[in-house]
């Protein structure tokens, strides 16, 4: 059989697309779309709530230390050691 004949028979070879099959596919399409919409909404809300909580937590931990008592280590202590100022010659 030539390629042209095969192409002609392929053109006639259509799907059995009847009303029942069409409505079954449409029903499942609508169902999947609704599920995906609900899932996307839930994910969006979780992300929004999570982000808001994270920002609030960040603000809380940033503000909380500054409102507390003054730290004991605010002023640094400089310890100086006096070697006598002779560069060690006094021992010699």
């Amino acid at each position: 059989m030539s390629l042209e004949d095969l192409v002609a028979s392929a053109r006639e070879n259509g799907p059995h697309w009847d009303r029942a099959r069409a409505s079954r596919v449409l029903a499942s399409t609508v169902l999947v779309h609704e599920r995906r919409t609900v899932r996307a909404r839930v994910v969006r809300r979780v992300i929004a709530i999570g982000s808001a909580s994270a920002v609030m937590a960040l603000l809380f931990f940033r503000v909380a230390p500054s409102s507390g008592a003054v730290s004991a280590h605010d002023e640094s202590v400089i310890v100086s050691v006096d070697h006598g100022g002779d560069g060690g010659y006094a021992r010699d």
């Binding site: 095969l6 028979s9 799907p15 059995h16 069409a22 399409t29």
Partner: protein, 173 residues
């Protein structure tokens, strides 16, 4: 008037998904069926995925007359993904791949089965433009748009597929 534009005159009006489905689902299923060469659940899955994409993407189409071409492009993209997945599965699980013949009884075998047996050995990027142009009778620019490649590329791929088919069908007794 081209093969795609001809039925588009019927689809003027609002682009809601159910009317879109009623107008174009049969055509989209036909395109997918002719690319795959079989009519089982895979065609239904690809049609479903195509119209799921239509839910989110159809608002981007300003011209309702372009809806069919848009749906064909999405269906072709989905079919290409399906064929790539199937090919990967066959590569990595060749022992589990389906070697069943298209018809259990050789007398039930249709002439078109020979064509699809050969087409299955041709890469999807070469096979799909050939089916769209030769079997679906889309024009070359429509085929290029559906496959999302340039006109020169689609011409080269169709010629490549034609050559491979002639060679392989010539070998078979």
């Amino acid at each position: 008037v081209t093969a795609i534009a001809r039925p588009l005159a019927l689809c003027e009006g609002a682009l809601d998904i159910e009317s879109l489905y009623a107008q174009h689902a049969r055509y989209v299923a036909g395109v997918v069926h002719r690319i795959l060469g079989r009519s089982d659940g895979e065609v239904d899955d690809i049609v479903q995925e195509t119209f799921l994409d239509a839910y989110s993407g159809i608002r981007a189409i300003s011209d309702p007359l372009a809806a069919r071409a848009w749906l064909v492009t999405v269906a072709v993209r989905r079919t290409r993904r399906f064929l790539a997945r199937q090919r990967r599965r066959q590569l990595f699980a060749f022992w589990a791949s389906d070697f069943a013949p298209r018809a259990s009884d050789p007398r039930d075998r249709q002439p078109v089965d020979d064509l699809y047996d050969v087409l299955e050995r041709i890469p999807a990027d070469v096979r799909i433009p050939w089916v769209l142009h030769r079997v679906e009778q889309l024009s070359l620019p429509e085929t290029a748009a559906a496959c999302e490649v340039s006109l020169a590329t689609v011409k080269r791929r169709i010629a490549d597929a034609e050559e491979r088919l002639e060679r392989r069908l010539g070998k078979t007794p």
